[in-house]
Amino acid sequence: MEPDVSIETSSMIRIAVLPVGEIHLHLFRKYAGMLGRHHKIELSTITDFYKADQKSPFSQQPWESGSLRFKFIVGGSPPSPWEDFQSNRKIHGVIGICHCPSSPDLGSVAEQFAMACKGYSSSVVQRCFVFSPGDTQLADRNNNKNKLVLFPPADQRTQEIHLQTMMQEIAASLLMEFEKWVLRPESGGIILKTPLDSQASLSSEEVIKAKKRRLGRAQKTTGDYCLLAGSPVDANAHYSTALELARLTGDYFWYAGAMEGGVCALLMDKAVHRDPAIEEEVKYRYNSVIVHYRKSFIQDNAQRVSPLSFELEATLKLARFLCRRELAKEVVDLLTAAADGAKSLIDASDRLILYIEIARLYGTLGYHRKAAFFSRQVAQLYLQQENSLAAISAMQVLALTTKAYRVQSRASIPKDTGSCIGDNGKMNHELVVSLFESQWSTLQMVVLKEILLSAVRAGDPLAAWSAAARLLRSYYPLITPSGQNGLATALNNSAERLPSGTHCPDPALPFVRLHSFPLHPSQMDIIKRTPGRPDWWAGSAPSGPFIYTPFTKGDQTTTTKQDLVWVVGEPVQVLVELANPCGFDLLVNSIYLSVHSGNFDSFPITVTLPPNSSKVITLSGIPTKTGPVSIPGCIVHCFGVVTEHFFKDVDNLLLGAQQGLVISDPFRCCGSGNGKVKNTNVPSITVVPSLPLLVSRTVGGDGAVILYEGEIREVWISIANAGTVAVEQAHVSLSGKNQESVISIGSEALESALPLKPGAEVTIPVTLKAWQLGLADLDGSRPMKDSSSPMLLIHYAGPTENHREPPATTGLLPPGRRLVTPLNICVLQGLSFVKARLLSMEIPAHVGQISDNSTHTDRLVKMDPYRGSWGLRFLELELSNPTDVVFEVGVSVNLENVDQNSSEFDYPKTRIDRDYTARVLIPLEHFKLPILDGSFLVTNSKSNKKAEVNASIKDLISKIKVRWVSGRNSSGELHIKDATQAALQTSVMDVLLPDPLTFSFRLVDQVDQGQGRVLAHEMTPMEVMVRNNTKDLISMSLSITCRDVAGENCIEGTNSAVLWSGALSGMKVDVPPLEEIKHAFSLYFLVPGEYTLLAAAVIDDPNEILRARARSSSPDEPIFCRGPPYHVRKKLDKTEHVVMRNYS
């Protein structure tokens, strides 16, 4: 059988094209290719070369429209035993091709060509084309007789024309030879034989039979020559005769042959395809041809030779003629029948050709699976031959089938098919299913195994590697661990024979998927700059009064991909997950990000994956140029070959696994992913030009600052520009919890250092005050959360426009950045406040002269022994020290409203040892207001009053500071506000407001007596002073009593020990507002000792203020005011003293 047969084959003149002399295969192919373009020579073009010596036997030669067809047999072929039967099988011409520069001796070339031509006895025209001859060769005029045709070096077009001319010459020569052959007298006489005719012993009967058949066969052969000469009408005439004769002699084989020739002549003559009538005719005749070939089957020599191959060829010819989609059914029937014949074919190469042809025809028909099936049959036949050439052919044929079986190598897939799927995560079900149409895993594995086998046998390590990689990657769940190991060995063996660094489009293991893009560390946050705003960082925050805005939310959902911004020159990291689902240790020699945009340097790393394991690794790299970056996958160097693994493929695979369409999810079977498919989209990444980069560091170590509650400390934070661009703008702010614990930030230090050049460093002070621990923080079971610390935010940016860049990008500001420096504060429980109480006490005072110069107070409480301290009140703070250090507590009061030079009073420090409790007293005397004003006590404006009270309490509290010192450098302040407020709340009026009346006693000055001397048995003149602290006149009845140590009234009663002169009780006096009245009286003490003087008054017609101050409930109730007790120490003469003791 012959490959590539068609009905027209009968009309083609075969010309062997042979290389002559030394010629490179590549050049030979090129020249042969040039020849191939001249496979059809119009009869009209060869008239110049055609010399009609005698009358042409081809009377109906269509000189206008006809043509001669050539079939170039490149490399030649051995003579066929069927040459007599079908003249087109003869090699009628030989063309040698010689490349002059490599074989300059034209003489030897001519000899070699002559030798080569001897093998083609049937050839009638022989030419040797000599390409690129030198001048010497051109000068040699002997060439013509040596059948050498020189093609002088010229441009392509000239050479083409030259070649065409030579081919026309050859065509003319062949035509003349055919004429000669037909006109040869003996052409009718020779016995034409085929291998089908018995060769060995010609019995007499058969000789007679042969003689009978001779005429018919001769007619058929003449017809063949007519066809070759391009004269179908002549051919048809001869074939008709031949048919008649063959039918008469029962020569079915030649009958069929003649009929076949007749069909060819018919088609040549009509030259109309797709004519249904002709098609029907062809079909009818060919069916008859097939039937007659079958009929000619002779049982005798069936073992040796059979017309079957002609029958099959005829079937294929008809199938090829009909091969159109509309006639698919008929073609399929023909091809099925042809395939059935394969079993009976004797010659293995015939079977090979048959299967090849069937596969090709199915392919033409669009039946790719059928084509693949027969291609695989071809490959199996090749593989049976067990030599490397056949293995190469098998491999190539199998490679053709991979598309139908959907196991094709990535290299053979056009680039754009992959991109239509998968950009957006939304893939409908149909699409997903069609993605995994490759579910014929059994077939696919068989095909890949066969490719691997043939590639190994053919010695093509790359193809073997690729097949093994596809097999392992796609079908690892169906391969036993030992099989997987075998494949791994095959991969390694193939890689050994490949040059290092070989790329293969088909990835093997591991499976690589994108895990995540780690966000910028908070030190390197990139903030979009809003142009034209001083607070450029605020632009990105959602605007409007609502925390949640549906519009911004909508924006976020439409842009599903988050955008990443990378900075030139700053290393970035990408997390990918690798999985090795196979049963061997997988050594990934190197893996790095594959970036096609060319502005990224990625750093390879080496990974080892144990069997059935997955691993998340960090791949890093540095962006080198601005612009978008796309990361479609990773470049993996594994099993000795470099491959590119696309994330998209694995994503699709995982999607398929989710739908139950893929055999296995490699990540899940490695125990990763927790059964949930994570779909990490590759965000759109843009690289921006270099930005400044601030790095912060706490001076004295980055550890947490350990502070006791309320402790105040200054820390220094050093900020350095680690980038390559100067910082031109910077703004410091606070965020996070406990922001109030940062008392001050020395941001001016940073601002004054701007622009901060690369490498420059600036230190800013930050004053911290430790906050109070809450109740939750106090139970030590939980570790301190870092989140409770405040954070220092520094928004900074480089120059607004990069001077090196062209101004095209002026609209886009380079982004700014944010440095987040957590102020790590660890607050320890310090001195703790237990409770606060308000204490009141009355301290004894002496009756005496009131010194007026005591107004200047240099201490918190001036104990004027003569003035007394009425209603002195103390705030008692109870503090405990649960820590293991000693605290010293000092109270200071800021009294700026008393004096202009805001003085503070410090009291001696109270030391509180560890695990002890101490009380600290804070006198509140000085906070009394000078005037009893109505404003506090107006009842009709409650809320106002409340607010006033609260304000004054706050004012009061803010003046009191309880500071503590511990050790050498810990100091702080107690937060006592709340406690004090609670303690003061109830009795604030008593603390703040003065009594309406102030009483005091004094001795009336006596010239010769020292102050405070009161002698017994002597009249002592005294004065009581009553001061009105209100703004209204107060009329009252004043009374004075005197008590002895036992508390008995000494003035009235039976045993009064004191005599008096002047009024002591029931004195009606009026005190003008804010003034003082004096009332003089004298006492005469009979007994030395201590006496207490008390002044009291009942106010007449008290007004509202007074009532409110006295907290009287009913308006009729008399308002009674009482002064503090005064002591009179009654002394005896010289030795005797009157000592009065107060026992209030």
Binding site: V332, A339, D340, Y362, R369, V433, E437, W440, L443, V446
Partner: protein
Amino acid sequence: MASTACFMIISKNDIPIYEAEVGSAPKKEEAAHQHQFILHAALDVVQDLAWTTSAMFLKSIDRFNDLVVSVYVTAVTHTRLMLLHDSRNDDGIKSFFQEVHELYIKILLNPLYLPGSRVTSSHFDTKVRALARKYL
């Protein structure tokens, strides 16, 4: 029972969703591959032929060597039940297909079954093999 028979169900996406060697001949892996290859190739013929007839049962649409392919195309889902066989028992094959079709409809009615995915029910497998013994 036929000595060689390979039964496959092919979804409308040309994916095999069920396959069973139901022949009585001793099983050989090589042969099973070959059977699947033949069935796979026959899909090309089925895809054209299915539209030329209203019948669901297409008998002997393709053959290779002495193995014949018969196909039953379901109407709605265009699922193809394909049988590769060496016997010529058309009636038996037709009955076999009809009963398997019923079984397949039961599988489809399972709300947890995603149409077009693999049929993994062991009950289905048992039933199909029983039907094969009965009819083929």
